[in-house]
Amino acid sequence: MRLLDLQRDFLDFLVDAPSDIAVGGDDGIGLAVYHNAYSAQLVECLKDSYERLWAWLGDEAFETAARRHIAGHPPHSWTLADYGVDFSATVADLYPDDPEVAEIAALDWALRRAFDGPDAPAFDPQQLGAVDWDEAVIAFVPTLTLLSVKTNCALIWNAIAAEEEVPAAEMLPEPGWVRVWRVGLQPHFASIETTEMGAIQLASSGMSFARLCDRLSEEIGIEIAVDAASRYLASWVQDQMIAEIR
């Protein structure tokens, strides 16, 4: 058998096809070792990337979800670290009545990506006085991600991480957002209101901060907008979310 054909057959077998690979000895045990190792490694990979989801679901439910995902998603990337990028969609399908499950998964993944995402020194607050606010454009750190949430997934995640009593899942009074980013070497996240999410998106699009304030004023009125914009800016600087103001 040509090497390419052998390797295609071998991968088909691992992903779950019957084998007609001609092995020496032919006791089937060797092939079974590779077959088991393939899925076992991917389960471990998902456990590593989705540690809080694993804790929330428990061993049995997590393993069931992981094996469902593995059956439909053979790895493609050169790195195992990319495996599971779409696991939150799998658990969303498995738990349509428990939206916190997919949201905890999305939070796990965003934090994992932030952990080894690109470096960027944070903006120095002492430089605020030198900024020309008529023209200033804010550039956030490259690890910043926004997640849409409907549940108290952030509280659940924090409680699991702190090994405290974990609250029951609840829907939020209104849909909200979580921002995820890295400060120095440590990933962080914070729950934010929809208006702040909009401001972050506008700033990320390259809009100047002055124009961003105008847009907020049009949407929520000038008095509220001025207060909100200054609060957002202060928290972005304090939280080391800003890489540069140019």
Partner: protein
């Protein structure tokens, strides 16, 4: 390929693993070199690269990969090689190693070290891939013998004959995993001492020492146990016949406190000293 050879390095080292990051950052760890899993540091930034930069300031580093798939019939992925080259340029390692195995063809990547048939076609494929990798990396490659759990009906030569011809054709070097020789020998019915006799000793630049587990009908290369006596015995047999090599304990799971691994590394030092003195 500007670099045609790899200078030998003599010493005793350990793999850099996450539970021991803090030890390496804050303590004077008595190792001569550190081995990293390349893929763990082929990332954009954050703590892994921060730790690596600090470690690199204090110890020579060997880069050891698990994702090259040197035996793929459709070649080695260029996106992988570009990232590996970037890391090697950053680290300036003793050498870059991976495994004599394959993990992917086409778009599916098993992320496992799958066995190659020892055929002339596989040898041609591996050698062509090695030549390409060496040209891209601008350095010779070091390849490790993997643990295997089966052989193929089409095999035309022994694993050690394959390794010998591979090094002869490409100028690559070898990382000899003594545990893998023992595991594969037990699983596939060859004598590990025949293997040692057939390996081109002058091409060996590194030694891995590890433990394994007993599975159903096969020894499994789990790297989660201390080095067992049969592996120490093989190490004692081969060591005097080698030139200067970098020997290390490889532990990837059930990782104990660093001191336990340092104690195990002292066993390697003691055996190496004893057998070298006896051979002199």
């Amino acid at each position: 390929m500007p670099e045609e050879t790899i200078a030998p390095f003599h010493g005793f080292g350990l793999g850099l693993r996450i539970p021991h990051f803090q030890n390496y950052l804050t303590e004077s760890v008595p190792v001569d070199f550190v081995e990293i899993i390349s893929e763990n540091f082929m990332v954009a930034g954050g703590r892994p690269l921060h730790v690596l930069d600090e470690v690199r300031e204090r110890w020579p580093v060997a880069m050891h990969g698990v994702s090259m798939s040197i035996g793929s019939a459709d070649g080695v992925r260029s996106d992988y090689l570009e990232r590996l080259k970037a890391l090697a340029d950053r680290v300036r390692p003793l050498w870059v190693s991976d495994h004599l195995s394959w993990s992917r063809v086409g778009e599916v990547n098993s992320h496992d070290l799958l066995p190659l048939p020892f055929t002339e076609e596989a040898l041609d494929t591996v050698c062509a891939n090695i030549e390409h990798v060496q040209n891209v990396l601008e350095r010779p490659l070091v390849l490790e013998n993997p643990s295997t759990y089966l052989t193929f009906a089409d095999d035309q030569m022994t694993e050690w004959a394959f390794l010998a011809e591979m090094t002869k054709r490409t100028g690559c070097y070898l990382l000899l995993d003594v545990n893998n020789i023992y595991v594969s020998g037990t699983n596939n019915g060859f004598d590990p001492y025949d293997y040692l006799a057939g390996v081109p000793a002058e091409r060996v630049r590194q030694i891995h020492l590890a433990g394994h587990s007993q599975g159903r009908g096969r020894l499994i290369d789990t790297h989660d146990e201390p080095v067992p006596d049969p592996v120490w015995d093989l190490f004692a047999r081969i060591y005097p016949g080698l030139g200067p090599v970098a020997a290390m304990i490889e532990r990837d799971d059930n990782i104990p406190p660093l001191q336990d691994l340092l104690d195990e590394l002292d066993i390697a030092r003691r055996i190496a000293g004893d057998v070298t003195a006896a051979a002199a």
